[in-house]
Symmetry: C2
Subunit: 122 residues, 2 copies
């Protein structure tokens, strides 16, 4: 189980939109969903490069795939394969370049909400 032995990065390549082509409405729309917002929050909260399965989302596998795809196609996350796992990371720098301050304010607001209602799952 040596770390590098499990890395494959094979065929399965994933399309990501270029930073310059990210659209504001698409990004806002992608963030306007509780499940996706919780994913983004988890990634920002030090859980960078988590496998999809590790999020324990309250939805089925296929729905989860769907949400990750929406986030990826909006340009919010970047995904790559490591073995069978698909890891995701926030495109913080790209987002900051294209929409300065946006991600930070969204994360800040969402964290505030979570302090108010720590039990609320959504």
């Amino acid at each position: 189980m040596s770390e590098s032995a499990t890395v494959t990065v094979s065929g399965r390549r994933v399309k990501h939109p270029e930073t310059a082509r990210l659209r504001l409405e698409t990004v806002l729309g992608a963030l306007a969903d509780p499940v996706r917002l919780s994913i983004v929050c988890a990634l920002a909260d030090g859980h960078e490069d988590m496998a999809c399965v590790a999020f324990e989302l309250p939805v089925s596998k296929s729905t989860s795939t769907h949400h990750f795809r929406v986030l990826r196609e909006a340009g919010i996350i970047r995904q790559y394969y490591v073995g069978t796992a698909r890891k995701s990371g926030l495109r913080v720098d790209d987002l900051e370049e294209r929409f300065p301050g946006l991600l930070a304010s969204v994360l800040n607001a969402e964290r505030g909400r979570r302090e108010e209602h720590p039990d609320d799952p959504a």
Copy 2:
């Protein structure tokens, strides 16, 4: 036509959500539409307290009403009647209090986009 003579502010009162109850997802969802984004932008661009009709939106009257309602119920704008006209203003302070930096970054991003594509109506 003395200014104050046309002000009525009569029956027709409008419901606005309290600042403390504004929900992030709702706000993001409301902003994730080209028509509504253009309304918000126009209001921010010094056209505060415009009547709905003055926006010249590329949609029908009833659709326009719909979009203004979405913005109002999300807590992004405040509306009040002046005669038959319904004027709208951005709730900048409320939004800043609840979601610091959010509106500013969205407006900034949208303005940037408009400089890139000045002809693009959406």
